[in-house]
């Protein structure tokens, strides 16, 4: 049982790591020299391999080992990152996921594909992807993160130009500047120093090995040498950055012999020969004259510094973990918690109502206290389920990459507001609509490089995804800089499909909305990417199921903008409670603009049309009593709840507006899934049920009914 729990925990962690890995790989493709990203990829592979092996995922571990080997070499500068490696790694990432899935479902994995990928990585090891030594050094230093506060150990080799004195530069001044950056150990290389008769006093013959322990970035170190770098030999190599080995290997570091080989002071064969000796390797090598004492000292100093840094970090690691005190909780447990909180909110509402009826001061005080605590508990519980949308965004980066490659387009995806949080369920349900929108943008929106060039645009297109909070909703925008929507083509298609008649006058904005109509598609060809004509209506439906709304805008030649507004959570919403006869209904408060009275005189003045005059503006309304066929007397003064649905104002006529209500959403169950105009139910304080109105559905079914009536009249 324990083993099963651990395996499940590992699987969950591995899925999370694979998500991060995908993001890192996609970033690495853009910044192939970024050592921080290389380190992240390596660590993810290392963890999956190590933990996988520990929990019996032998196949996962074996496969991941092959990838890890390559990234270890990349990390050490022996191999460089190429687009080919990134593609291979992304495929490997998918394969690891497949292996994990197969373990869960007792499924099979295509072993031939596994072997192909392994062969691919092995071939990469042998390929000529090794950068020149100078490039390695430059690359390793180019993009290291700046603001990391953990101490890092750098190995610096500085060999100034022989004529450095003539330029007025004092190399010792540079060394002192380095000392200001952190704990610095300087070992001069004096092997080049000639005998006195050969020495030219104005020339510099000395170089230095420097081991610097600092929190500074490689760029800041490089800045010290800014005026001499061009004429000098300079390499700055990060040798300790808190990598996995550092954490797992205690305070240990490479053995001296290994270090000398890595530093290029000794070859492997010679090391092996001397390793059999009983004396210390350093002494043996010095005695044999194979390695200069200065080099041994430099290597020992490096060993000492890295050990120090690692030892310092060791006790900090468990403590910092403790401070984080995060727990991994299965999602279904959270769902259950939210359900229970929902029940509690309902009971609390009942308690408050009972207390109000009984007019018992003591009970009222208790009810108020329970209400306060319940609200706090509700907010906290819903917060636990909130996840940043960034994880969804990063999935799309992969989608954009793969799609643009398939279609021969150059598309870059940019994002903003990745930290914006949404309820886990909302986030999950948002995935498919967003995938479809992005597919559409790339397939139909963004042009091919030659078309873009001809249009005077940059060859590469952009799809920008952004998220931001807007009240109790999240506003998502998907903007592309493609060719935009063709209003004429949409109109022609709509006429062809019978959605509008040729004589209908529609604004451009109204025409754009037609792309959300069922079966609508203007694509001339159906591709595997999009364009099957079942797209945008499904997207709209999915967004509406989430109680969200979608708007579209476009500028021909410049691009398309889609705005999606989604409520933060699906579990509990703020709503407006209304009554028609004895029946209670709720409307999501986010849609409500205002409530106005509707008298019998107002109804008469409209001559049978469902239009309310609100401060001189005519607003169409739907009489819900009529819509739901509710019997009984209509009050003399009814209420119109004015809402904003699908970019238009629409009123819902009810008998009474009771007020704001905290609605715990309950689904209607399978029996009622096809009931139109109702999206769910909630339990009121007195135990009765209120139905949740589906404003979108009500609007559309009402419009359809009206169109049908008109057609009958015309006929």
């Amino acid at each position: 049982m324990m083993q099963n729990d651990q395996r499940a925990a590992f699987r969950e962690e591995a899925y999370e790591l694979l998500g991060e890995l995908e993001t890192s790989l996609l970033e690495l493709e853009e910044q192939p020299e970024n050592m921080d990203l290389i380190g992240r990829v390596f660590r993810a592979m290392h963890t999956i391999k190590g933990s996988g092996s520990m929990f019996g995922f032998t196949e996962v571990s074996r496969f991941t080992h092959e990838v890890e080997t390559v990234y270890d070499m990349v990390r050490n500068g022996a191999l460089s990152v190429s687009p080919q490696l990134v593609s291979l790694s992304l495929a490997a990432r998918d394969m690891i996921k497949e292996l994990l899935d197969a373990d869960l479902d007792d499924g099979n994995v295509d072993q031939q594909r596994v072997q192909e990928l392994i062969d691919g990585f092995r071939a990469y090891l042998k390929s000529d992807s090794s950068p020149a030594k100078d490039e390695v050094v430059a690359s390793s230093s180019a993009n290291l993160p700046k603001n990391e506060t953990l101490p890092r150990v750098y190995r610096i080799h500085f060999q100034p130009a022989a004529d450095i004195f003539l330029t007025g530069t004092n190399p010792l001044g540079l060394l002192n500047e380095l000392r200001e950056l952190g704990d610095c150990h300087v070992i001069a290389r004096t092997e080049q120093l000639p005998c006195l008769d050969e020495l030219e006093p104005e020339k510099c013959y000395v170089g230095w090995d420097i081991i610097l322990t600092t929190e500074r970035s490689v760029d800041e170190i490089r800045d010290v040498f800014i005026f001499v770098e061009d004429d000098s030999k300079l390499s700055i190599t990060l040798i300790e950055d808190g990598s996995v080995e550092a954490e797992e290997g205690g305070g240990s570091y490479k053995m001296l012999g290994e270090l000398l080989v890595e530093r290029g002071d000794l070859d492997k064969e010679t090391l092996q020969r001397f390793l059999d000796g009983r004396k210390k390797i350093g002494e043996l090598l010095m005695d044999a004259g194979l390695v200069k004492p200065g080099r041994i000292e430099a290597a020992l100093k490096e060993q000492e510094q890295v050990r120090k840094v690692r030892e310092k970090r060791q006790p900090a690691t468990p403590a910092s973990n403790e401070n984080q005190s995060s727990l991994r909780v299965p999602a279904d447990k959270l769902d259950k918690l939210v359900d229970l909180v929902g029940e509690l909110v309902t009971v609390q509402s009942r308690l408050s109502q009972t207390a109000a009826v009984r007019q018992d001061a003591e009970l009222t005080a208790i009810a108020e206290e329970v209400e306060r605590l319940t609200e706090e508990l509700r907010d906290n519980t819903l917060n636990i389920r909130m996840l940043p949308i960034g994880s969804t965004f990063s999935k799309f980066k992969r989608l954009v990459r793969d799609l643009s490659q398939d279609l021969g387009k150059q598309v870059e995806m940019t994002t903003s507001g990745a930290e914006t949080e949404l309820d886990k369920t909302v986030l999950e349900k948002l995935n498919d609509p967003l995938v479809h929108i992005i597919r559409n943008s790339i397939d139909h929106g963004i042009e091919t490089p030659d078309v873009r060039r001809a249009a005077g645009k940059p060859e590469g297109g952009t799809v920008h995804l952004s998220a931001e909070h807007s009240g109790d909703s999240v506003l998502l925008t998907i903007r592309d800089d493609g060719k935009g929507l063709d209003a004429n083509a949409i109109r022609a298609k709509a006429v062809e499909k019978g959605l509008i008649s040729e004589t209908d006058t529609l604004s451009t904005s109204e025409l754009y909305q037609l792309i959300f109509a069922p079966g609508f598609s203007t694509a001339k060809t159906i591709s595997s990417v999009s364009g099957r004509g079942v797209g945008m209506d499904v997207v709209k439906k999915a967004i509406e199921t989430l109680r969200g709304s979608i708007e579209i805008d476009s500028a021909p030649g410049l691009g398309t903008l889609l705005k999606i507004k989604i409520p933060l959570t699906l579990a509990i919403i703020e709503s407006l409670l209304v009554r028609i006869g004895d029946a209670h209904f709720v409307l999501p408060l986010a849609l409500v603009e205002e409530c106005v009275e509707l008298t019998a005189a107002d109804v008469a003045a409209a001559h049978g049309r469902h239009l309310a005059n609100v401060r001189g503006q005519l607003i169409p309304y739907i009489p819900l009593r009529q819509r739901f066929a509710i019997d009984g007397d209509v009050p003399a003064i009814q209420q119109v709840v004015v809402t904003q649905v699908d970019q238009q104002q629409i009123g819902f006529v009810v008998d009474h507006v009771i007020g704001e209500h905290q609605t715990v959403i309950k689904s209607l169950g399978r029996m009622y899934k096809d009931v139109s105009g109702i999206s769910g139910a909630t339990i009121l304080g007195d135990g009765s049920v209120a139905l949740i109105l589906d404003a979108y559905e009500l609007l559309h079914s009402s419009a359809a009914e009206e169109a049908r009536q008109c057609a009958i009249k015309v006929a």
Partner: protein
Amino acid sequence: MEWEIKPEGNGNVLILRGSATLPYASELKDALAAIIAASGDVTIDVQDIQEFDLAGLQLLGSAHHSAVAQARTFQLLDNQATFREAVFTAGFNRKKGCNACPGEAPCLWVINDQPEA
């Protein structure tokens, strides 16, 4: 830069005064060449040197190489913070002998106590 060579024991001692720095590098080289050219043990007295820089240290190191190459004893009389500070700043200090030093022979760069910052 002033210098003089005095015979002492089995060799000579070169007494240096002033600055062992780049502007005086040629003079320093001449002085060191003079004592290397002489026979016997080499002793360099830098107790009256007020300033060292890399050029000065290089010259001392080079003289040390030359003496060791000729299997002559090379000794330095420093006994002052200025020299030690320059040696540590330039990273010339060694725990064991430098590249030129054979076996356990004393080396001018073996200085165990680092000057206080």
